[in-house]
């Protein structure tokens, strides 16, 4: 069986997989990182989005062997060692951008890539268009869009931190 070396959330792993093993299967079943989900079998829902070498990819549509030697970041790898959330995670919480939580890891990973690739900032329309590859059935996207806009401001230095609205 092929041997694959992946750096996942900063840690190097050498694992044996079948050639047909998908990256998401290697993450969930071999490395037991179950934060990355599978919501469809036609590469559309985006619940499986992770970062591979800095780009968002659908881990259900890439073989583990194709990712050999790559650096993977999953939802489990976003928060700091001390538990401080990534600004995107924090913004999702602040703006109630998740309900059942199933699409959330992929949504967050896509959102971070979207913001990273638009250093000049994002309009609401650009955010909505940028979520083409992620389906959420719970939220109607309204709060996801708000959260991404807020996180972009923090990530790009326009706002010092996610405003903690007074409840």
């Amino acid at each position: 069986m092929p041997q694959v070396t992946l750096t996942v959330n900063g840690k190097s792993h050498s694992i044996e997989v079948e050639a047909r093993t998908l990256l998401v299967e290697a993450l969930r079943e071999t490395l037991r990182l179950t934060g990355t989900h599978v919501g469809c079998d036609t590469s559309q829902c985006g619940a499986c989005v992770v970062h591979l070498n800095g780009d968002s990819v659908k881990s259900c549509t890439i073989l583990a062997v194709q990712a050999d030697g790559g650096a993977v970041t999953t939802i489990e790898g976003l928060a700091a060692e001390d538990g401080t959330l990534h600004p995107m995670q924090e913004a999702f919480r602040e703006h109630h951008a998740l309900q059942c939580g199933f699409c959330t890891p992929g949504m967050v990973m896509s959102a971070i890539d979207l913001v990273n690739k638009h250093p000049q900032g994002l309009s609401e329309a650009e955010i909505r268009e940028g979520l083409e590859g992620n389906i959420c059935r719970c939220t109607g996207y309204h709060n996801i869009v708000k959260a991404i806009a807020a996180a972009a401001d923090v990530m790009q230095g326009r706002s010092p931190e996610v405003a903690h609205a007074a409840e």
Binding site: E18, S43, G46, S56, V57, K58, L63, V65, S110, L114
Partner: protein, 263 residues
């Protein structure tokens, strides 16, 4: 997915050798179409030949009046490449509209063209721009390359190396997306350049095709109004729950107008 052998050659020669040795092996580039098909067990290759380690298959360069784009160049790279943005902005814009961000981060120009999905975007661009398909053994003009649904002039084991896009004076693309799959329900790429005016239609028929009436009209008068009155025949167009052949035929005219306006 059925299991298969996996090879990752580092040169074109090695890849061609692997493919020629095993007629049931398949090359894989981004895998954006192939992997979903394999997951549904629609296909049973003995081996996948991963082309991603072959450096010579990637990149964009200008050669005379053409942009030569390596087959393994990703959609996102075409969409953001300064050479493409400068020389053929319509091609960059088209690439930026393929699928979603994650598809564009993996999917490649060569993979899309060699697959020749009738609803894919690249075939319309390549046909309208009069591109040449450079393989490991020859160069194929666009007019000969697209032969039918999921069928191209590539022979078994023949590898697409790069595609040469003549730089047009003007080009534009417009499409209407299928509300479910988000593939093109109908798209039109228009280009005016050294090969005259060329209009290619994707999504509407079983294979990308040229629209000669619109080409003639635009040659005489490059304006949206020139194509507004030209009706595409619905004969032989696709028909499904999302769009009848008649609707798709109508969209061809609408998208042609919009493509010209965008050019």
């Amino acid at each position: 997915m059925y299991d298969f052998a996996y090879h990752k050659p580092s040169s074109i020669a090695d890849a061609v050798k692997l493919l020629s040795e095993d007629p049931d092996a398949k090359p894989i580039s981004g895998g954006m179409t192939l992997l979903p098909a394999l997951k549904h067990r629609l296909n049973r290759p003995t081996a996948l030949i991963d082309l991603s380690a072959i450096a010579e298959l990637r990149g964009v360069k200008q050669e005379g009046g053409a942009l030569v784009i390596g087959a393994m160049t990703k959609h996102v790279e075409v969409a953001t490449n300064p050479l493409v943005l400068g020389a053929i902005p319509a091609l960059a814009k088209m690439a930026a509209s393929i699928g979603d961000t994650q598809v564009r981060n993996r999917g490649t120009l060569g993979g899309s063209l060699a697959n020749n999905d009738p609803a894919a975007d690249y075939p319309a661009a390549a046909l309208a721009l009069g591109a040449s398909f450079i393989t490991d053994r020859r160069s194929i003009p666009a007019d000969d390359f697209f032969q039918g649904m999921f069928t191209t002039a590539l022979e078994p084991g023949e590898l697409l190396i790069a595609v040469s896009f003549p730089i047009p004076e003007k080009a534009g693309y417009a499409k209407l997306r299928n509300p479910a799959s988000r593939y093109a329900m109908a798209g039109v790429f228009v280009a005016k350049g050294g090969q005259g005016v060329r209009v290619a239609v994707n999504g509407a028929g079983p294979c990308v095709f040229r629209q000669p009436e619109m080409e003639a009209a635009l040659a005489a008068n490059w304006s949206p109004e020139a194509v507004a009155g030209i009706h595409q025949s619905p004969d032989d167009l696709n028909s499904d729950i999302h769009g009848s052949a008649e609707y798709r035929a109508h969209l061809v005219t609408v998208m042609a107008k919009r493509a010209v306006a965008a050019a």
